[in-house]
């Protein structure tokens, strides 16, 4: 066991911090803020583009990807350290979700050569086209179809919560290629540009809209989308992995997407914020930080946040050793999001009515982040596999408890 970073890793962290201090200007912050940047592709403002170029030149983008594909061939912990610092500064340096890991796992050489370097340089970005109106937790129930026609596939259907669809260059889409196969067996994955004819993106506004949430809010996005596909014709080379084997490809990407610094921090930032806030503030004569019940709750939440951190470190350790998760990633995806909810709700009871004030309101505390977090925190327990589904996985994969038998269909009378 070793719970510390090496001197080298500590030096790297200092280096990243200094870089952020020197380079993350207010203009950059404005351009990379998903709220203010919501109408243009992410990170393509001039200041942000220049920043990402400098980050790339430092070798801090695509750290864990092989050098042959424009990455650094570095380890997971280096990625973690750099990602943690940039995430704290509001800069997303991840390759944006499950697309890149899935391409590395299942892509052709050509696909790897095309996508990975461009994802790293942020010339390409994916939105995730998995969920549908009738397929959420039961994702394999999806209906969006891809029908082979000569050298092409023709896509028809609808995807829900394609959050980055309005600012991504490409989509990472799961569709049904065989209607007659068993539920999980007729599914395939496709990668194609968002400007392909026949794609319509419509905004769906979240409860974080009007006013929009301050930076750093857990699920502070004011916008997600629904995306429609009407006879969208794509070349067969857009297929990722084998036809009808897409279920396994999709799950591989998702599992790797559930761990890392960005995932960890969205659940624990408020723990830090509330401690630092009560240290400096009081309401007239009432100092919440001196109230024994509040102190007890703050400590309780702090401990839970440490468990979030340690679970992340455990995942890192497993990946670094070249092992595979049985249940650990899923366990983390239960504990951390639920902790995020508990701390958010606990803070509301420390601040009383001030906890309800949104950004831009008079008397709002910390720009309203605590109030916005009440709306956003539970969201991380829903997306990318709900906590209920994750508990199923811990129980069945980790503890080897038996699958429940399918309930018999109730006959209509």
């Amino acid at each position: 066991m070793d719970f510390a970073y090496t001197a080298e890793q500590e030096a790297l962290r200092r280096e990243v911090r200094q870089f952020i201090k020197d380079n993350v200007t207010p203009e950059v912050a404005d351009e990379t803020n998903p709220e203010t940047a919501s109408e243009r592709p992410r990170g393509t403002g001039p200041a942000a583009a220049a920043l990402y170029k400098r980050i790339y030149e430092r070798g801090w983008l695509g750290i864990t990807y092989p050098k042959a594909y424009g990455g650094q061939g570095g380890d997971r912990l280096t990625q973690y350290i750099v990602e943690e610092e940039f995430t704290r500064a509001g800069i997303n340096i991840t390759l944006g979700g499950s697309g890149a890991p899935a391409i590395m796992a299942a892509g052709t050489e050509e696909q790897k050569q095309f996508y990975i370097p461009r994802l790293i340089k942020r010339e390409v970005s994916f939105c995730l086209g998995f969920t549908e109106p009738h397929a959420g937790a039961d994702l394999a129930n999806l209906r969006c179809s891809a029908v082979r026609d000569g050298d092409d596939y023709v896509i028809n259907g609808q995807k829900m919560y394609t959050s980055a669809a309005h600012m991504s260059t490409h989509i990472y889409l799961m569709a049904r290629t065989d209607r007659n196969a068993a539920k999980h067996d007729g599914i395939s994955i496709f990668l194609f540009p968002m400007d392909t004819p026949g794609i319509t993106v419509r905004p769906l506004w979240t409860i974080q809209n009007n006013p929009t949430a301050p930076a750093g809010t857990t699920y502070g996005n004011s916008r997600t989308n629904e995306t429609f596909f009407d006879d969208v014709r794509i070349h067969k080379s857009c297929l990722l992995g084998e036809e009808n084997k897409g279920w396994r490809v999709g799950s591989m990407g998702l599992n790797l997407d559930r761990v890392g610094a960005a995932r960890y921090l969205i659940s624990v930032r408020r723990d830090e914020d509330i401690v630092n806030w009560v240290k400096r503030n009081k309401f007239d004569g009432f100092a919440p930080g001196q109230n024994p019940a509040i102190r007890d709750k703050i400590a309780e939440m702090w401990i839970e946040a440490q468990v979030c951190r340690l679970m992340t470190m455990r995942s890192m350790s497993i990946v670094e050793r070249g092992g595979k998760f049985t249940y650990e990633g899923s366990a983390e995806k239960v504990w951390a999001p639920e902790h995020g909810v508990r701390i958010s709700e606990a803070i509301t009871q420390m601040l009383g009515p001030y906890g309800s004030l949104l950004r831009t309101s008079p008397h709002a505390i910390e720009d309203g982040v605590f109030a916005h977090n009440v709306m956003g925190s539970f969201q991380s327990g829903i997306n990318h596999g709900s906590v209920q589904v994750m508990r199923d996985q811990v129980a069945r994969r980790g503890l080897e408890l038996p699958s429940s038998r399918r309930p018999k269909k109730v006959e209509a009378k």
């Binding site: 468990v307 455990r314 249940y327 408890l401």
Partner: protein, 390 residues
């Protein structure tokens, strides 16, 4: 950074588990609950051959000078097997001597500990159960080359079987708080000592020990007279972290029993483990025990590195107190009525884990310590980084 066991640590766990599986059957655990001494002298001698008592003792007294993490792993396995051994209390007392005692004290007391010829325990708590210096009232008055101890200690672990007891007392009359405390090595067979057994949930051996004019030589003072608090605090931190290791070991075994039970016990025509309410309960139990275990070993590891670890120790204990208790209670629930039966083994783990949650600091005390470190010491806090220090 690698929070998983390395090869050496795995070897320690595997060999301890194999040994205890063979040498510590449930039958022995049950027999020792009814035994006056409460532990098996035979088993104590055997684990001394394996070097458990001497694991973290200096080499000059015959120990192997290993990290505390290794002893934590052994205690985890001992907890898993509910091994009826005075291992924890001996570790707490002997480590205080090994880390803060004089050369002469180490040479006098520790070789017998390493050899398994001596059992040690420690006494801090009096009527106020909190682990704060204010709770110590026992008086120690200087008299020639000796001190004379008067007062009553509570919850002293394995006292009837102990040869020596490390005792905290107040050498400065009228002093308050951390000032004026001194730590003594007391011969447990001294004149003026008497004990009354307490009847505990764990059915382990805890005593009320009365000191009436007990004479202790000045040579038996650990550290300096009146300045024991930092030594005592380190002793309690080590002991608390080691108790957590024992607790997570027992809780792990306990939940494994429930998970196994859920796989074959059928109801409504299928194993109860196929019902989601049971599955999700088991998933939570696993997450809780995992969390407690990682917090515990991070604390032990930090102590090994000589880093500040009080907050980490308190994190582990407060979390284990609540989550291990919840885990073993859920195991009871999954077992239904049979888990409530004396003849069924599950209760042995349930009662011990429960009792251990109440020892060496309640959740409230430990969280108060964390809150103090977080809130009362100026400076920004950042998760995953050392906290500001005063």
């Amino acid at each position: 950074m690698d929070v998983l066991l390395n090869d050496d640590e795995t070897l320690i766990v595997d060999s301890a588990r194999e040994f205890l599986t063979g040498e510590c059957p449930v039958k022995l655990v049950r027999a020792m609950e009814a035994d006056a001494l409460g532990y098996s002298k035979e088993l104590w001698a055997k684990v001394a051959e394996l070097g458990w008592q001497g694991m973290c003792m200096p080499e000059k007294v015959g120990g192997s000078n290993m990290p505390l993490v290794y002893l934590g792993l052994v205690l985890r396995e001992a907890g898993r097997a509910l091994a009826p051994l005075p291992l924890h209390c001996t570790a707490v007392a002997s480590l205080a001597i090994a880390r803060d005692g004089s050369e002469a004290q180490q040479e006098k007391y520790l070789p017998d500990v390493v050899a398994g010829k001596s059992v040690m325990t420690w006494a801090f708590t009096e009527s106020d159960p909190r682990f704060i210096p204010e709770a110590v009232q026992m008086s120690a008055k200087a008299q020639g080359d000796n001190f004379v101890l008067d007062g009553v200690k509570l919850f002293v672990d394995n006292f009837p079987g102990a040869d020596h007891c490390v005792v905290v007392a107040r050498t400065t009359a009228g002093s308050k708080g951390a000032q004026g405390l001194t730590l003594f090595i007391v011969d447990a067979k001294s004149q003026g000592l008497s004990q009354v057994p307490l009847i505990t949930l764990a059915k382990d051996k805890q005593s009320e020990v009365t000191f009436k004019g007990v004479i202790v030589p000045k040579a038996n003072v650990i550290g300096s007279v009146g300045e024991a608090w930092p030594i005592v605090e380190r002793m309690l931190d080590r002991g608390t972290a080691l108790l957590c290791a024992q607790m997570v070991g027992a809780a792990r075994k306990d939940i494994e029993m429930a998970i196994e039970y859920a796989k074959f016990r059928t109801a409504f025509g299928q194993p109860i483990g196929s019902f989601q309410s049971v599955q999700h309960t088991c998933a939570d139990m696993q997450i809780w025990v995992d969390g407690g275990e990682m917090l515990t070993f991070e604390a032990l590891w930090k102590i090994d590195q000589g880093l500040p670890a009080s907050v980490e120790v308190s994190q582990a204990k407060a979390f284990c107190n609540e989550k291990c208790e919840a885990a073993v209670r859920n195991s009871q629930s999954i077992h239904g009525g049979i888990g409530f039966m004396m003849e069924f083994d599950l209760q042995l783990w349930f009662r011990r884990v429960s009792a251990w949650t109440m020892r060496m600091g309640t959740s409230f005390e430990h969280r108060a310590r964390i809150a103090h470190a977080l809130i009362d010491i100026p400076g920004e806090v950042t998760l995953g980084r050392p906290l500001p220090t005063a």
